[in-house]
């Protein structure tokens, strides 16, 4: 990376402003499926993006060739793009920020020793053996992806940011089949456990022993009836609340969607620029933050990929919409305050407005109190299906696991619990929010968006939540 900094210093350009963003990541994937160790796969992904402002225009060029000559060629191409499109540019880049940020960031536990390949296979093998405990279990797998990387941003105005990341993403998936039905149960969903830092997260999520636990729940689902249909209260556990936040708060608040950039692909938003400051998004209990400061959360960082310093801000406070998810460019376009969320998923894609860590702040109830407060309802856990319209309003979500709640007590297990609603109404039916004891720091490494498309890591921390009068239903009879 030091060599690259030297190379950056030698680049020549008549652009008004230019940046070099380098991403260097390494990953290892291990899996044991049906007690058979799968061959390991490794990734070494390194490349650079040059971005140039020239007149009204801005262009980029990315390359996996990091020699000085190729970096210079990429800068020349980026500058040529800026000039060629200046007259047709949607944004007048002469008025856009030209930051010179300096600083660094590191994931927690940077010194914590990493497990060896043999140790991973031993751990995953034990969970696999525990999971394959019944002839009705037809497929099962224990997996992990470990990843570390360094992201660097250099600007022609003297900016220099280095951010070092480390991630651990373990998973368990068990599929049971009998009598014409198949049910799959996972540990918090596909790659639903993903955090920054070292392997201490395995203890936080009780990964050891989860193979047997997940398998037993898959077998329970196989014997369970379908979730009943009707309008009822719903208790969403954190691993479903995060999906609800992601799809019906995170995406609709992305300022580039609101500004129309995503209308050809990911979609638009039912939120408009005039709603900020006054619109009632949810009940008074709804407090949602953009919070890049929780060390283990997946999208914590000190600067976004355009160099804007990141800090915690409220997006929704006491149910009222306060600010969108928009980076410096979008803020200037919309003349609204925003967040440090201009992010690229890799060196070969440009920054756009993305979620970072979008969290629902805790309330005051224990899980027992949440359950006790429900006369008739359904507890739902672990997302398995997600679908929402291109304005992020009409949604339908499904979960792996359901339990009936009757007279304030947990009842029998039900399979295929689904619910549907409309974002603009749903959050207003938020009736009770769990306290910190119900919170989980989760996220997903697979949030898709953009043209060209990008899949990025986002974090969500959430408590369990109760929603009133929700339209729920199960699978086919």
């Amino acid at each position: 990376m030091q060599t690259l900094a030297s190379a950056f210093g030698t680049l020549e350009s008549d652009a008004d402003f230019f940046t070099l963003r380098v991403v260097d990541e390494e990953a290892a994937c291990y899996a044991v499926r049906k007690d058979v160790p799968q061959p390991p796969s490794f990734l070494s992904d390194r490349g650079a993006m040059l971005t140039a402002y020239a007149g009204r225009g801005c262009g980029y060029a990315a390359t996996s060739d990091l020699c000085p000559g190729s970096l210079q060629a990429a800068l020349d191409r980026a500058t040529a793009w800026a000039r060629a499109t200046a007259e047709r540019s949607l944004i007048d880049f002469r008025a856009m920020p030209r930051p010179a940020p300096r600083g660094s960031y590191a994931s927690p536990e940077p010194q914590m020793p990493a497990r060896s390949q043999q140790e991973w296979y031993r751990l995953l093998g034990e969970e696999s053996r525990a999971a394959g405990c019944d002839p009705r279990i037809v497929d099962w797998e224990a997996t992990v992806e470990t990843r570390q990387g360094e992201h660097r941003l250099l600007t022609s105005t003297g900016g220099d940011i280095v951010q070092r990341y480390r991630f651990v993403m373990p998973g368990i998936s068990v599929t049971a089949h009998a009598a014409g039905d198949t049910q799959t149960r996972t540990l918090n969903g596909y790659r639903g456990l993903a955090q920054q830092g070292g392997e201490s997260m395995l203890e936080r999520f009780a990964f050891v022993g989860s193979g047997r636990r997940v398998a037993q729940e898959a077998l329970e689902l196989l014997l369970a009836p379908n979730c009943p249909s009707g309008v009822t209260d719903v208790l969403l556990m954190p691993d479903q609340v995060i999906l609800q936040i992601h799809e019906s708060i995170g995406h609709p608040l992305e300022l580039d969607r609101i500004l129309g950039d995503e209308r050809n692909f990911a979609g638009t938003s039912f939120v408009t620029t005039d709603m900020f400051g006054t619109y009632r998004y949810g009940s008074e209990l709804l407090n949602v933050t953009f919070d890049p400061t929780i060390p283990e959360e997946l999208a914590s960082y000190a600067f976004d990929d355009e160099g804007t310093p990141a800090r915690k801000v409220y997006l929704i406070r006491n149910g009222i919409l306060e600010r969108p998810l928009g980076g410096a460019l979008s803020q200037a376009r919309a003349r609204l305050p925003g967040t440090a969320n201009a992010r690229a998923d890799n060196w070969n894609r440009p920054p756009i407005d993305r979620m970072g860590n979008i969290n629902l702040e805790p309330g005051d109830a224990t899980l027992e109190e949440l359950i006790a407060g429900i006369e008739r309802g359904v507890l739902m856990s672990t997302n398995s299906s997600w679908s929402i319209d291109d304005s992020r309003n009409k949604f339908q979500f499904g979960c792996e696991w359901g339990r009936l709640i009757e007279n304030g007590k947990l009842g029998s297990v039900v399979k295929n619990p689904n619910y549907r609603g409309i974002s603009a109404n749903f959050w207003r039916s938020l009736q009770r929010v769990g306290n910190a004891s119900t919170m989980q720091v989760l996220g997903t490494p697979y949030c898709g968006k953009g043209e060209p498309s990008q899949v990025i890591r986002v974090g969500h921390a959430a408590p369990a939540c109760v929603f009133a009068d929700v339209d729920v239903f199960g699978g086919e009879a």
């Binding site: 160790p37 061959p39 390991p40 490349g47 050809n264 929402i388 319209d389 295929n416």
Partner: protein
């Protein structure tokens, strides 16, 4: 056609690997590269223009029955990549020492080299974008241009060499009337023709005028519907999510396992096949096995085949048929029917014309029940004529119903839909699909 710089580079790289093996080691090498121009557009102006040059090498080292792989970015200049490639080889060699034998290891042992190059020169991206934006004068256009050469290569230590090179372009754009009312268009292929683009823009303008009519909001219920090939692409895309996978069928995780076992059925007119011979994806897979021209998956409404990777073949004692590990179709074809496309609206008579579907997912996978939204140009039709755009509606219904007892008919004409997927790299997948008229489709929200 003379080998491109990239093809020569891959040949040199393979030669380096040939010289660098130890003992009885075997390697498979896969190259995925592209030089892509991407121009993002909004409000009929340029939002983000750029160029991406990326080369990924996937190196798979085998020693006996132990194996591992590493993907790495390379520069395309062997003198600079030599050290990194040899270091990756050394890392894999060290990894293998501590691995157990893999009972399901499979790799190509018959040498079947091939070369497919289709690389007509395209105009500069700047020029293409100018033509598009000029044609869209006065309109609220948002979209993406993606174009340039895509390279896929395979080499192994047995001497097999496969090369697949295509230069394609893709323009996808939406013309917005207001809010979420828009017409989406696609124009792409191998040979650029400005007049063809202008013709598509003229069609889109005409359709946009229909969106100016007052929109109709439908109550939840069951409606007769015509699904265009673009809407069918979303449904077929869900079937491709493990539906045709040999491994998913064996483990009953496929949404089509009940069809496979005979407890569910589709209309006898339904047929699907993986038709590599007519697609734009390479005719070889990651471990070097060649793909047959066509693999029949569903015929006469019954499941007759699946996509089987070499690894699945070993695990379940099946015959592999050139599938990659995902066992997802890359060149899916659906059989056409007997309806004339021009007659589809007349046959629909009264109901929904669904131009596009969006964001589908399973609401009950074993029942092949899907949910999703209507999107873009979808209309209410009466007397076989479009009368009003409709506000977006959510459907929730089973493919076994929609393409089973509720199917009225499929159009004879089929549309080649080239994948617009640009996640990580530009896709070379495609589908060829008809439109479908269905008697009843369940809408819930």
């Amino acid at each position: 056609m003379a080998p491109s710089t990239m093809e020569n580079y891959f040949g040199e790289l393979a030669a380096l690997l040939d010289r660098s093996l130890a003992g009885a080691e075997i390697y498979n090498a896969r190259l995925d590269a592209e030089r892509s121009d991407f121009v993002r557009l909004n409000r009929a102006q340029v939002r983000q223009p750029g160029t991406v040059t990326q080369i990924y090498l996937r190196l798979h080292l085998i020693d006996g029955r132990r194996h591992a792989e590493e993907s790495l970015t390379v520069s395309g200049e062997l003198s600079r990549d030599r050290e990194a490639v040899l270091a990756a080889l050394a890392r894999l060699r060290a990894t293998l020492a501590s691995l157990p034998d893999d009972p399901y290891l499979a790799y190509a042992t018959e040498v079947r080299s091939s070369r497919s190059v289709r690389s007509e020169a395209l105009p500069p991206a700047e020029q293409i974008v100018d033509v598009l934006l000029d044609a869209a004068a006065g309109l609220d256009l948002v979209g993406l241009y993606a174009g340039g050469p895509v390279y896929r290569g395979f080499a192994n230590s047995l001497g097999q060499r496969n090369w697949h090179e295509v230069a394609t372009f893709s323009l996808q754009w939406s013309l917005y009337h207001r809010a979420d009312k828009a017409v989406k268009s696609v124009y792409g292929g191998f040979e650029w023709d400005a007049s063809a683009l202008r013709a598509r823009m003229a069609e889109a303008r005409e359709r946009l005028a229909l969106l100016a009519r007052p929109a109709r909001s439908l109550e939840p219920g069951r409606y007769r519907a015509y699904l265009t090939p673009s809407a069918m692409e979303e449904i077929a895309g869900m079937l491709c999510w493990g539906g045709f996978s040999g491994r998913a069928l064996q483990t009953r995780q496929s949404c089509l396992f009940r069809l496979n076992e005979g407890s569910a059925e589709l209309d006898p007119s339904i047929g699907f096949s993986e038709k590599t011979v007519e697609g734009i994806a390479p005719a070889f897979q990651d471990e070097g096995f060649t793909r047959p021209p066509e693999v029949s998956l569903v015929a006469d409404g019954r499941m007759v085949g699946s996509l089987v990777s070499p690894r699945t073949a070993r695990e379940f004692a099946l015959a592999q048929n050139g599938a990659n590990a995902s066992e997802a179709p890359e060149s899916l074809e659906m059989r056409g029917g007997e309806l004339r496309g021009d007659d589809a609206l007349e046959l629909l008579d009264r109901g929904l014309y669904i131009g596009n579907l969006w964001y589908l997912n399973f609401s009950d996978r074993p029942a092949c029940r899907l949910t999703g939204m209507t999107r873009f140009a979808s209309f209410w039709v009466e007397g076989g004529k479009i009368v009003a755009p409709v506000d977006v509606m959510r459907f929730d219904d089973s493919v076994f119903r929609l393409l089973g007892r509720e199917l009225v008919g499929l159009t004879a004409e089929r549309e080649l839909l080239v994948s617009s997927d640009t996640y990580r790299q530009r896709s070379v997948a495609s589908m060829k699909l008809p439109g479908a008229v269905v008697r009843e489709m369940a809408f819930t929200l």
